[in-house]
């Protein structure tokens, strides 16, 4: 298929303002009379709040208002379960709970006032281990509940007992993963402006999901949705992270703005950001797997326990994705999985790129290598014997028959390109010296978009102007991933317009269609389909107008290169001229595109159904060098093959792969948010280390394209798949190099040398 605008590495439409410093992010917004707000956080992770004395703070010069939980009209919010406190009421439940928020004329005055607030606490003994929280009779984090369990997702398929009876080899392993900070470089920032135009409150800022934040602010203020306006434009990264925490900040700033009748700016420092923003869930996982001598998987039993921290946040959905992906992309007749989330007094956990998949893939794909070792089989052979193909049946009983199941293709391409087999066998033999090389791989299938979490629909408005330029209004938002460019390319392809003729407007709940959240790698797939629909609606109207006015048949009319062509490809006129004429004739040049995804199903009792309407497939290979004397791990090369359906913008797809691979490398060997009795020990980038340019391996991205019948021009997803595979591939490479199996992330030097983490909480036996 010939394309003019999609399937091309077009320059980003938002790049000019980003390289010139003109792009305004949340903290760059300025309004007349704007006040500076700051939050006072609890001193103890779990404590009763006996008294809050604001007298001294209120008397400070330049302080205009201070709020506590008493001032919050409705103090509990949440997208799934409403139990997150805007400000701590009777008790603080984790170390990032806010106690009070000050608004002052200067940031300095706000900071001074914070120090003058006297809070009387009664420190309580909290629970910091989800396995303890799980025990019957444990004290309850949320007293209104019967237990600390947030959620339990069971999945039952076949007969697990029979499956293990039929197995020649059975192995049991335990794996665990840590809290991870999203580490967007821009800390959270909002400005709430009262009574602008007809809205009670308008919030500007780094808001990943404007409609979720709109819902939260409306609910907290007890105000109608149509009175709350959220505007998002440039965002300094999010990776799932600027949702609930930003909603909470938006609500606090909104209350202060209404109280003072002035704009209120609330911007976190890095320390505040790490302390109060939710993290990726730590998981503790028990896997049992059975196979025949020749490597056929017979049974799999899994228990995964996630630490939800103080609030439910996204735990019910994060753990649900784990259920679907926990068994990996393998055909197994007999499966029993149980995935749980429990409340503790730790930092709460929510969405982060991957969303419940990086944890189980680390376990599952490590386990496959361990099983291969046990069977004396190479890891590629074992996988090839069991992977999904077209028409395979998944653990949840779904038949994969809607799209090309390309696991074998991505696996083969990555294995060949990385010279895996030869290297694996060579490195497996005794290596001389302290520096040992190793190679490892991992594969995954990933459900695209929300799946059975929620209704999956998105809308786009296109408005063609009289000069042939277009405004595009989207409900899904740019987080840095390149969505604006992709949407402009799709609209441009259908309307025959260069993308510089299309202006992607900032997401504004006033006009943008509520399209749910920009999450789950769904923007290209779901929003892209909505763009296609809107553009086709508009194109059909243009064709009708031209056909009627110029004695043409609609089928002959083509829009290309900014022009309209008719019978025998003869140019009729420019789109600009047509737009002006059509407008004068009263043709509606604004179109709406609404896309609803194909049907899905899920039985929560037994974990069976068709959870996603399509999937993507990926394989990553890691090559490492391990110094067994010092424990240093050097990742030399990552080969990443991903089926994206169709790459709307190949350069952007590569950018996603490079970035995701590096985030996966961080997960594998560097990153861990350390907590001790609920206190966070690394609250800035000097102690919470993310990969720098010096940690970069050679990265070889392989884009695989099998256009999906349900994707816009065949496109599917790429954001999250790139990140979920790295840690497992690296763990397998380390095992290949050093003959040491590490089952706890991050893999670090102590584990290589002494076989366990030296710091507290190390899970390695």
């Amino acid at each position: 298929m010939e394309f003019n605008h999609v399937h091309k590495s077009k320059k980003r439409v938002d790049v000019y303002e980003k390289v010139t410093g003109r792009a305004k992010y949340g903290a760059d917004m300025r309004f007349p009379d704007m006040l500076y707000a700051q939050t006072l956080y609890t001193k103890y992770p779990y404590a009763e709040i006996k008294n809050i004395d604001l007298d001294k703070a209120k008397k400070q010069t330049d302080v205009e208002a201070i709020i506590t939980a008493e001032d919050v009209p409705n103090n509990k919010f949440g997208v799934i379960i409403e139990n997150q406190q805007v400000l701590a009421e009777d008790k603080s439940l984790f170390i990032g709970d806010g106690i009070a928020v000050v608004a002052a004329k200067t940031a300095k005055a706000a900071a001074r006032a914070i120090e003058l607030i006297d809070v009387e606490y009664k420190e309580l003994e909290g629970i910091y281990d989800p396995l303890k929280a799980r025990k019957e009779g444990s004290q309850l984090i949320h007293e209104e509940n019967e237990s600390n369990q947030v959620i339990h997702h069971p999945l039952r398929k076949g007969n697990i007992k029979q499956g293990f009876l039929e197995s020649d080899v059975i192995i049991k392993r335990e794996y665990d993963t840590p809290f991870i900070e999203q580490s967007y470089i821009e800390p959270e920032a909002v400005v709430a402006v009262p009574y602008q135009e007809n809205s009670t409150i308008t919030v500007y800022g780094s808001i990943q999901n404007p409609f979720a934040t709109q819902g939260a602010v409306a609910s907290v203020l007890k105000e109608k949705l149509n009175k709350i306006r959220i505007v998002q434009n440039h965002m300094g990264g999010s990776f799932g992270g600027k949702d609930e925490v930003v909603s909470s900040m938006a609500a606090r700033a909104a209350i202060l703005a209404l109280k003072t009748k002035k704009p209120v700016r609330l911007v976190n420092t890095r320390d505040q950001s790490i302390k109060e923003s939710y993290k990726r869930h730590p998981y503790k996982m028990k896997y049992k797997i059975g196979a025949t001598h020749d490597g056929q998987l017979k049974a799999m039993q899994i228990e995964a326990v996630a630490d939800s921290g103080a609030y439910a946040c996204q735990t019910p959905f994060v753990t649900w994705r784990s259920v679907v992906q926990a068994t990996g992309p393998y055909e197994v007749a007999n499966v029993k999985t149980d995935t749980y989330g429990f409340y503790t007094n730790n930092i709460y956990t929510g969405a982060m790129r991957g969303y419940g998949s990086p944890q189980v893939i680390f376990a599952q794909e490590s386990l496959m290598d361990e099983l291969a070792e046990e069977l004396d089989m190479d890891p590629v052979e074992l996988r090839l014997k069991n992977i999904y193909h077209n028409n395979s049946i998944t653990a949840s009983g779904q038949k994969l028959d809607s799209h090309q199941v390309s696991l074998e293709e991505v696996l083969t391409k990555a294995v060949e390109k990385s010279d895996f087999i030869e290297k694996y066998n060579r490195y497996k033999k005794e290596q001389t010296g302290d520096k040992k090389r190793g190679i490892g791989l991992s594969i995954s299938f990933r459900g695209c978009s929300l799946g059975a979490e929620a209704i999956d629909a998105a809308g786009i408005i296109l408005s063609l102007k009289k000069d042939g330029s277009v405004n595009l209004y989207s409900g899904l938002a740019e987080n840095g991933q390149g969505l604006k460019t992709v949407y402009c390319q799709i609209a441009g392809e259908i309307l025959g317009l260069d993308i510089d003729r299309i202006n992607f407007m900032e997401v504004d709940t006033l006009i943008s269609p509520d399209s749910g959240s920009t999450v789950a790698s769904r923007a290209t797939l779901i929003g892209g389909n909505a763009v296609k629909k809107a553009a086709n609606n508009l194109k059909n109207r243009i064709k009708k107008f031209i056909a009627e006015s110029y004695e043409q048949t609609e089928d002959d009319i083509v829009l290309k290169d900014g022009k309209i062509y008719g019978k025998k490809s003869i140019e009729i006129m420019s789109i600009a001229k047509m737009s002006s004429m059509a407008a004068m004739e009263g043709v509606c040049l604004t179109s709406y595109g609404w896309y609803v995804s194909p049907e899905i199903s899920w039985d929560e009792e037994i974990g069976q159904g068709n959870p996603y309407f399509t999937y993507v497939y990926g394989c990553q290979v890691a090559e490492v060098e391990v110094d067994i004397k010092t424990g240093e791990i050097n990742v030399l090369k990552m080969t990443a093959a991903h089926d994206v359906g169709r790459a709307i913008n190949p350069a952007n797809v590569k950018g996603q792969i490079y970035g995701g691979v590096m985030m996966g490398l961080g997960y594998g060997i560097m990153e861990e948010l350390k907590t001790n009795q609920g206190y966070i020990q690394n609250t800035n980038f000097d102690e919470y280390l993310i990969p720098t340019v010096k940690d970069m391996p050679d990265i070889d991205p392989i884009i695989v394209e099998n256009p999906d019948p349900d994707g816009p021009f065949g496109a599917k997803s790429i954001g999250e798949p790139t990140l979920e595979l790295g840690a497992a591939a690296i763990a397998n490479a380390v095992a290949n190099a050093a003959d040491k199996r590490i089952r706890s992330l991050p893999i670090n030097l102590e584990q290589i040398i002494v076989g366990r983490k030296l710091s507290k909480g190390g899970g390695q036996k």
Binding site: K11, V19, A27, S183, I185, E186, G655
Partner: protein
């Protein structure tokens, strides 16, 4: 607090400021001169988002008090574009898709600019060293390196 008089040349323009002794250059640039292309990411000199060039050197502006650099020449990302013409680095970042969320971009550009001013022909390792203090969570750095390398190559061939 006693104010301090400071004169600075920022993006080729002269400014006379009266600042508190504890005012960071980052705040002077953002709040007084409205140069909000200078970003604050960590406030402790670890992320590099606030990097500017002071007298030819790439510096984290969160770690400098304004009064300390009286008489200095400061270049921020806003000063890279001259008379509507983008710097070759800016053009190359655009060309090589070296930008995603864009929050680290101004700092990245300034670190790269300082490097090329000093060493027009850096190798890959020198480029990596120059931007080692600039954290990027989106791009995995690859396309940023490619963008800087392309400017080096272009210079070499001319």
């Amino acid at each position: 607090m006693q104010k301090v008089k400071v004169s600075l040349t920022v993006n080729r323009k002269k400014y006379n400021l009266e600042v508190d002794p504890d005012e960071r250059l980052l705040d002077s640039l953002r709040d007084r001169l409205h140069l909000t292309g200078v970003k604050e990411g960590c406030s402790i000199g670890e992320c590099g988002a606030c990097t500017v060039i002071i007298d030819g050197k790439a510096v984290n502006s969160c770690m400098v008090y304004t009064f300390q650099i009286d008489g200095s020449h400061v270049l921020t990302v806003e000063g890279l574009e001259i008379d509507g013409r983008l710097d070759p680095l800016q053009l190359s970042f655009i060309e090589h898709q070296a930008v995603q969320c864009g929050f680290c971009t101004p700092g990245m550009l300034m670190s790269a600019k300082a490097l090329l001013n000093k060493n027009p022909n850096p190798d890959k390792e020198a480029i990596k060293t120059a931007i080692e203090g600039n954290l990027c969570r989106c791009t995995g750095y690859q396309q940023i390196i490619e963008a800087i390398e392309a400017v080096v190559k272009k210079d070499g061939s001319e």
